[in-house]
Structure formats: structure tokens, C-alpha cells
Symmetry: C2
Subunit: 176 residues, 2 copies
DNA sequence: CAGCACCAGTTGTGATGTCAACTCATTTCT
DNA sequence: AGAAATGAGTTGACATCACAACTGGTGCTG
């Protein structure tokens, strides 16, 4: 049993789930076994820590670069803005990743016809080669992550994740 | 409709869910509307971005400090190690957070009886005051996050999150 | 009891993610 | 057309997060 689930049972022996719970003196405290932001932090940090180490070591690129590559494989010939939009990557990070990937010889670009500020980017053959190698590793890592999860539960999980993403997108940075 | 769900429908018009999908030429690519690590990154980054800004501005402490405070409210009189264990905070971050919170006058500590390397920490009255103020904001933020999610779906979601956390803990940094 | 492995916590360094200020191009308004 | 507002992308600065080397204390073992 993990530390967090053990703690959750100590604090919520009746099995009731709610992230605010009570300590032994009746003060409201968070329950780390149910408080959603802590779960996100724990899982996401573990995922990106492992991915970062692996991709840097094996392919000499970081996570942001991988995400840009994966996006350019999905939609070739797009401007930086489109990348930011879809994979929630900051435009500063996108800009630096594109520069670095171009230096490393994985990308081609041309200036947009209609707008000289824009560039249109795509993967060259080397870029697709790298994409395919990393994709195999990334999918294996995803399979490890969902190991032991029922397919039906995973569907529900994804539905909730989509709703949460809508919520954070909607609320923007202001209030969430 | 969000960008990601729109894209997911473009790529998976039959509604089938799987994070590897195919582009128009048959190449395997990730589906950003189903690829779980991207969801984690998008949601977690939005959450911690907002929390960081809010807590720094309103209370002059960072996210790590808040997590340490919340843990000390759950279990008073614990050493740093216990904090790391439960809330998945690096021991370096824990050390710095404890120092900072002590400087700001929210904590008390004493050396452990049995082991001079350890200190035992707890919140003083000021610390509990801060805890209660932040907790109210944090729970409100969590309510915003889960807005629109069915309670049953949320149970399933948490079950899957616990399983995923076990998976990343089990696989450690090596392979995940 | 001396040496050695181990452990708790501290500090330095680098990767990631974000914001804000800036440049330069485009569009809008009058 | 000229001025102002908007937009795309670049760059610098800072907060966060993690690893690893290090310090100093503990405890095991010969």
C-alpha cells in the first residue's frame, strides 16, 4: 500500500472521498490521498522527470523539443502559433525549441506568403526518423503508466481529463 | 469545443480512443486529445502556474511552501523526511521550504531526541492562520477544477489516478 | 574502539515553464 | 496615406523542480 492511500484510510476510514478532511482536533486540512492538485503534481513530475532524462540521454533533446516534433508530425507546415495552441506550450518555449531543432537539422521552414512575421515549419527526413524512434519509446512509457487500469475506467478518466482541461483553459490564469 | 477535442475528432472520427493514431499518410503519430502525458502537462502546468502566482502574490510563499504547510497541518511534529515521503517533494525543496517558512515565522522545531541530524517541525499559531487562509483558496480552486464532472466519474478518475501514481512510484525514475 | 557503510539534511547546478519587455510586420481607423 | 492598435516571434529574467555532491551524525562490525 502506498503512503498516500494509507494516509487516506487513516483520515477517511469510512471510505468517503473528499479532499478537505479533518485532523484529530477537527481542523480542516487537505487529504493528500484525494486532493487532486497533489496527484497532478506527483504524477506529472514523475512523468516529465523520467521523460526528460531519457530523451536528453538517448536523443539529446528535451521534452519541449519532443512535443514540437510530435506536433509537426501530426500537422506539417504550420506556424509556431499553431503549436502553442494545440500542445499548450508557451510561445517562448516553442520559439526556443524550433530554433534548437533547426540547428540540429531536424526541421525545414519557409516564410509565410501572406505574413512575413510567420514561418511555416515541417520535419525533414531526419526529423521523421527521430520522431519514429521517440514515438516508440513514448508509447511504451504510456503503456507502463496505464498498466492495471480497466479500459472502461480509462475512458472515464479521459473524459474527466478533457473536462478539467476545459475548466483550466476557460478559467485561464486569473482564478484557477 | 476546445482545440484538442476538435483535433481528436479530426483524427479519430469513429470515436475510437487510442493515443497512437495515424496521419493521412498512415504514419503513426500521437493524438494530443488522447495522449495522457500531454493532458497531465497541460492541466498540471495550468494549475501550478495559477497557484504559484496567486500564493506568491497574496501570501508571499511558493507552492512548495504551501504543500509543506498543508502537510504539517495534517501531521504535526514530523521530520523533513516524512514530508518528502507523503507529498512527493524533493528533499532539497523540502529543506529550502522549511528554512524559508521558519525565517518567515510560521514554524517551530526542535532537534530529535534520538538523532541529532533530525529536526521535528510543526506549525505555530501564525502558521495555522496562514494554513487556514490558503486552504480556503485552495479548495475553491479545486472546486473550479472539477466543475461539471459527475461524482461517479470523479470516483473512477481518482481510482485511476491512484493506480497511475502507484505505477510511476513503482517504476521509479529508471524507465517511466 | 576504529573503520566503514549508511542516513538526514544542505547546497550547487542545470532543465523546465512562465512572464514581460522588445522588435518588427500587419491591420485598422480616420 | 499616416498614425495607432494589434499580432508573431525573440530574448532576458525568474520561479520551479530534480539530481548529485557534500557535510556531519549514526550505527554496525570486526
Amino acid at each position: 500500500m502506498t503512503v498516500s492511500t494509507r494516509l487516506a484510510k487513516e483520515l477517511c476510514p469510512d471510505g468517503r472521498r473528499s479532499s478537505p478532511t479533518k485532523d484529530h482536533k477537527g481542523r480542516a486540512v487537505v487529504d493528500p490521498g484525494s486532493y487532486i492538485p497533489y496527484f497532478f503534481a506527483a504524477i506529472n513530475n514523475a512523468l516529465s522527470r523520467g521523460a526528460s532524462r531519457l530523451y536528453l540521454q538517448a536523443f539529446d533533446i528535451g521534452i519541449a523539443e519532443w512535443r514540437v516534433i510530435s506536433m509537426l508530425a501530426i500537422e506539417p507546415r504550420i506556424p509556431a502559433q499553431r503549436i502553442c495552441e494545440v500542445i499548450s506550450l508557451d510561445k517562448a518555449a516553442t520559439s526556443r525549441s524550433l530554433s534548437r531543432l533547426r540547428e540540429l537539422g531536424y526541421l525545414e521552414f519557409k516564410a509565410s506568403d501572406r505574413d512575413n512575421r510567420r514561418k511555416i515549419w515541417w520535419l525533414n527526413a531526419r526529423g521523421y526518423g527521430l520522431h519514429d524512434k521517440i514515438l516508440a519509446v513514448a508509447l511504451e512509457r504510456e503503456r507502463n503508466l496505464i498498466q492495471g487500469v480497466e479500459p472502461d475506467d480509462l475512458e472515464v478518466f479521459l473524459k474527466v481529463m478533457r473536462m478539467m482541461r476545459q475548466n483550466v483553459d476557460r478559467l485561464g490564469g486569473e482564478d484557477v
